[in-house]
């Protein structure tokens, strides 16, 4: 038999339900106050520093981190509840999302103490925005072809080259990036890249926004010209970023954001068909809800395994593979099911508008954070095939 796949039936503990109520009440207040419109997912790209700080005040950033860094020492499952409620409400999370999910945990693991003490509490207060600098013009899936160079200089490193597709770089305070510190070796082509913390507000960095097919400006080109990074901003071991990248990805791959990005079209479809759907609509909705429920059970299960200190790399990749394909197909399935919806349905215009946006968003879902093909390679490795 092959390595067993495990998806234990994890239940959210009772404290999560109280928390869920608090998050829903908070979001309802924010919506009532006009902070954001839950029916306008396309507004999700807009930066909202004040909302970010209020989320921090509630204690919903850095939830799982140690208290001494401003964290709250709560569980991954509690964090899960906050994340999914924000996502389903289309709340403007862009400013803090990457820092909270990904960059904070990397700093916790690899940054020197004084940097942790400086930055982590500010993430928890919702004050700082992070970006991820992995991809380059000639290095996407093949991360280890990255060329942007860090050259040793007095007290630090000089960075030259460029990153691309860098989400939020235009508003980010920091970037966690990989740069080339040595050439690859014959034995290990992954050797020679090092992870660094970059202060985006220092000189030597130009950020050029890139328009997406949705009309949004989420990602950017980032050009480095003799940008100076001090020695203590090196994260982890020199030349060994490849060892550090994999465990990080389990967090990134399996969260609710990996299947809920287009969820709003399903809600709106249910609204449009009304309380007494015909057989075709009922079956279509039933299948989609069954698939959604299953995705969520898988994703909660991975969160439970992370909580238990495991690194379910293969299971997390499976969640992302199935989840992103599901959220990518969802607007198309909803479009088919909406084909015969009465034009007089009260939300007809909203549904059409949402479908237009979701269908334009769909292609990116199986590219960002590792393509479907790359994920399947990881799963295949987990199955012992490579």
């Amino acid at each position: 038999m092959t390595a067993a796949l495990r998806f234990d039936p994890i239940r959210l503990p009772a404290e999560c339900e109280q928390l869920r109520k608090e998050v829903r009440a908070f979001l309802a207040e924010e919506i009532a106050a006009g902070t954001f419109d839950p029916h306008k997912p396309q507004r999700e790209d807009s930066d909202n520093p004040e909302f970010s700080k209020r989320v921090g005040e509630r204690g919903w950033l850095g939830m799982t981190w140690p208290k001494k860094y401003g964290g709250h020492e709560r569980s991954f499952l509690e964090r899960y509840v906050v994340t999914e409620e924000m996502r389903v409400a289309n709340a403007p999370v862009r400013r803090f999302f990457v820092a909270d999910r990904q960059s904070g945990p990397v700093l916790l693991k690899y940054a020197p103490e004084h940097i942790k003490m400086d930055i982590l509490p500010r993430i928890c207060r919702g004050e700082v925005c992070f970006s991820i600098g992995m991809s380059e013009p000639n290095s996407g899936s093949d991360l280890f072809a990255a060329k942007t160079k860090a050259t040793k200089t007095n007290g630090g490193w000089l960075i030259n080259g460029s990153k691309i597709w860098t989400t939020s770089a235009h508003m980010a305070d920091y970037m966690i990036a990989i740069f080339r510190t040595s050439p690859p070796t014959k034995e290990n082509r992954r050797h020679g890249l090092t992870q660094f913390l970059v202060n985006m507000k220092k000189p030597g960095i130009t950020v050029n926004p890139i328009a997406q097919i949705t009309g949004q400006y989420e990602f950017n080109e980032v050009v480095f010209t003799d940008h100076f990074v001090p020695d203590d901003h090196m994260l982890g071991e020199i030349d060994s970023a490849w060892k550090q990248a994999t465990s990080e990805l389990a967090y990134e791959r399996s969260g609710p954001e990996r299947f809920l990005e287009t969820y709003y079209v399903l809600t709106e479809l249910v609204r449009a068909v009304g309380p007494k759907p015909d057989t075709r609509s009922a079956e279509g909705i039933g299948r989609l809800v069954a698939q959604l429920h299953t995705m969520r059970r898988m994703s909660v299960s991975v969160a439970g395994m992370l909580q238990a200190g495991k690194e379910p790399v293969v299971e997390a990749s499976i969640v992302k593979d199935i989840g992103t394909i599901w959220e990518q197909q969802l607007p198309h399935r909803v479009r088919e099911l909406a084909a015969f919806v009465d034009d007089s349905a009260s939300n007809h215009a909203t549904l059409d508008e949402m479908l237009g946006f979701a269908i334009k968003t769909a292609p990116k879902l199986t590219i960002q954070g590792g393509t479907t093909e790359v994920l399947r390679g990881i799963i295949a490795r987990g199955l012992g095939l490579r």
């Binding site: 249910v270 079956e283 279509g284 039933g286 969520r296 059970r297 593979d321 199955l383």
Partner: protein, 354 residues
């Protein structure tokens, strides 16, 4: 609960390994393996796992019983273990003692209804009843004026038209022509045919997920043995990606089935959230059966399309199980209606209720 710390599942695993080797069964033409296997299962008390001791069963927990079903699904054997477990469970709902021997349940399809007549006899037709020809007894839900009743019926009192499912397992039509049951009790309040079908759907979900695990194992192993173009086929990226998709479908089936089993085992009331668990499990496991079986066959090439190879024992059974106790289309319509009736803004609270 994991299989490793579940002694009941371990017992089942051992019995199947000793007495139901897939290669041996596949070559056997006269079914001589069935009697010793059934005897061993009976000696271990497995067919009556879900029957409390006071009803002459083994009194195993719901959770342990579900894990026996995943083991049975992984083994893909043609004996009515799942059906007898389900029948015992049904009878226990009305404190009816379970007899010895093979059992099955009726109705097994939402299209059929059995009627309880005023004189206490049962009338009606139940199609697609698994293993009715092998069963000594049938556990039945019938409805009459006073609501639903649960009955134990002697199979020989019914007229049984033999049929075969996709995997050549008995799938019969059972005619109840004013049949007098051995025992008849009213069902507990709230219990009806739908509750039996839901439980049946859950049972089949466990078995499908188990069968998918075996399909994945067979396919991965084969890809490491078969050579084409001077390479193991497991080295071709297209094959790797197909197997990754099969692993994904297997994972989805496992997650949906084990979550639903866990929810039912906790003794929660049959509310919308529990309905979602069971219906979603049957829908998603059936979808996974279709996609998974197609990939497993693709990876094995022609050899997997032969009777001689064991693959069909799992692929055809998983596909056949989709039809029992309500197909995925049936449950999807029911779930879709429920979601629509609750309204758009109550969908997320339902999905996030656990």
């Amino acid at each position: 609960m994991t299989d490793a710390d579940n002694i009941v599942a371990e017992t089942a695993e051992r019995i199947f390994a000793d007495l139901a080797d897939a290669q041996t069964i596949n070559r056997d033409k006269n079914g001589s393996w069935k009697a010793p296997l059934w005897q061993a299962l009976t000696d271990a008390g497995l067919p009556l796992s879900w029957v409390p001791e006071e009803c002459d069963g083994s009194g195993t927990s719901m959770a342990e019983g579900f894990s026996v079903l995943s083991v049975a699904g992984r083994a893909g054997v043609a004996v009515p273990l799942a059906e007898t477990m389900l029948a015992g469970w049904l009878l226990a709902q009305a404190q009816i003692k379970s007899p010895e021997g093979m059992m099955t349940v009726a109705p097994a399809s939402p299209r059929d209804r059995l009627t309880l007549n005023a004189d206490g006899t049962i009338t009606g037709r139940a199609r697609g009843v698994p293993f009715a020809t092998d069963a000594k007894h049938i556990a039945v839900v019938a409805s009459g004026f006073g609501g639903a009743s649960i009955a134990l019926v002697d199979a020989s009192a019914c007229r049984i038209e033999a049929g075969l499912g996709l995997a050549d397992d008995p799938s019969d039509t059972v005619h109840f022509d004013t049949v007098k049951p051995i025992t008849l009790q009213s069902a507990p309040s709230g219990f009806d045919q739908n509750a039996l079908l839901l439980m049946g759907a859950l049972v089949r979900s466990q078995q499908i997920a188990g069968a998918l695990e075996t399909m994945l194992g067979i396919s991965v192993n084969y890809s490491g043995e078969r050579v084409a173009f001077e390479k193991k086929i497991s080295k071709f990226q297209a094959v790797q990606h197909n197997l990754a998709k099969l692993a994904g479908e297997t994972s989805a089936a496992l997650a949906a089935a084990s979550s639903a089993a866990d929810a039912f085992s906790s003794g929660a009331p049959l509310d919308d959230a529990l309905f979602l668990e069971a219906a979603a499990a049957k829908i998603r496991c059936s979808e996974a059966a279709e996609k998974g079986a197609a990939i497993a066959h693709q990876v094995l090439g022609a050899i997997g399309f032969t009777q001689e190879h064991i693959l069909h024992r799992y692929t055809l059974r998983a596909l056949a199980w989709r039809d029992d106790f309500g197909s995925e289309s049936y449950w999807a319509v029911e779930l879709g209606k429920l979601v629509a009736a609750r309204g758009a803004d109550e969908l997320w609270p339902l999905v996030a209720s656990r």
